[in-house]
Symmetry: C2
DNA sequence: CCTATATGTTTACATCATAAACATCTACGG
DNA sequence: CCGTAGATGTTTATGATGTAAACATATAGG
């Protein structure tokens, strides 16, 4: 099975040729059509063409594999947001929000996986991931340097898009672009105070 | 097991004395300490003292039982919000939002169950449940009769509290009361438009 | 009273996560 | 070169799960 030693960083190794990466890839692929609850180690192993328990040479248990997949998903999201921000110019902040919701709608399983298993440390915003860094950074532009205000703004924005994404994923709200726009750049009556 | 025929609408019936209700109750009880993924029909049956497959006399499958539990949860939430609104006087709207998040934090499993399994019909806000009715109704008070504005406002408010609840449940945000207040009645910079 | 039906049980099966023992390959030290 | 140790994969086994089918029983209505 040593796939011709393609000279590159790709597969070469002991028996399979980087089973670990293959499993993560298979998991991410499976997550495109399959509910996260229906993903099984055995299924992935089968997909990759390896015995059911080979997984345990690379991951202590199922959670560990899912976590690896989630990290990949978080990175994907971060890159999409970054690109969206750059392409949007002065609308950068709301563009990242839109990208967030779009990512959720385009990758429901992965999105859920990321935000339900990725236990980020910290008592505030999660640190160390691209998405959150951008969130805080961009929020700061609207709050004139007050870090507390930036934080509050960032949390509000995050909650808004996250809630919208979740409600749409769960079929509680229709998943159409118009509603996304309405919610994200609807300035609406937020000055109301009760 | 016919618990003394307490004269009331409670349990009396064929063999068990309303197994259906007992199973739902056991499920709700289990959901207090147990992750939703770890809830098993066999476990509930065991809890209630009945054979593993007795469940299928009352529910076609696991999803159906969970759905029954979710309906109960939704009703609970609606009542809590109603009470919160009444107790809050002029702050009724934000009080329902706070109640929403508090319910989520106090009943993580149930909250997730409600909003991940309760497939509500409709292309807009879910109709026919107390929580949503109140949401729309109270939103109308802030929008001076314009139904489109009311709807947009309601959706925004819902997304905000739902996202906040979810992020807190999933450990992405600290689950403290101060943050809830900050997000819910922080009027912050929503006039910003990019 | 007696039988149809609702309710519950037993048995059975496929699938799953995971553990333990076993096999094999690769790399590295002599 | 070789041969052994460790990394990787396989086989086999265990207990749990959801669910189907056949069976048993209690209840209700004729």
């Amino acid at each position: 099975m040593v796939t011709v030693s393609t000279s590159n960083v790709e597969q070469r190794a002991y028996h399979h040729g980087d089973l670990r990466a293959a499993l993560v890839a298979a998991g991410l692929r499976a997550l495109e059509n399959t509910d996260i609850a229906d993903i099984s180690l055995r299924g992935l192993a089968r997909e990759v063409g390896v015995s059911a328990t080979a997984v345990y040479r690379h991951f202590p248990d199922k959670r560990a594999l899912l976590e690896a997949m989630a990290q990949d998903g978080l990175a994907q999201l971060g890159q999409l947001q970054q690109r969206a921000a750059m392409d949007a110019g002065d609308q950068a902040f709301s563009a990242t929000g839109r990208a967030y919701v779009r990512f959720a709608l385009a990758n429901p399983g992965l999105f859920r996986l990321v935000f339900t298993h990725c236990q980020m440390r910290g008592d505030g915003l999660p640190e160390g991931n691209l998405a959150a860094d951008m969130l805080l950074g961009n929020a700061a532009k609207f709050t004139g340097g007050d870090p507390a205000a930036a934080r509050r703004f960032a949390v509000q924005a995050w909650a808004l898009v996250h809630g919208l994404a979740m409600l749409m994923l769960d079929g509680q709200l229709p998943a159409d672009e118009a509603l996304i726009d309405q919610v994200i750049d609807g300035r609406s009556m937020w000055q109301a105070r009760s």
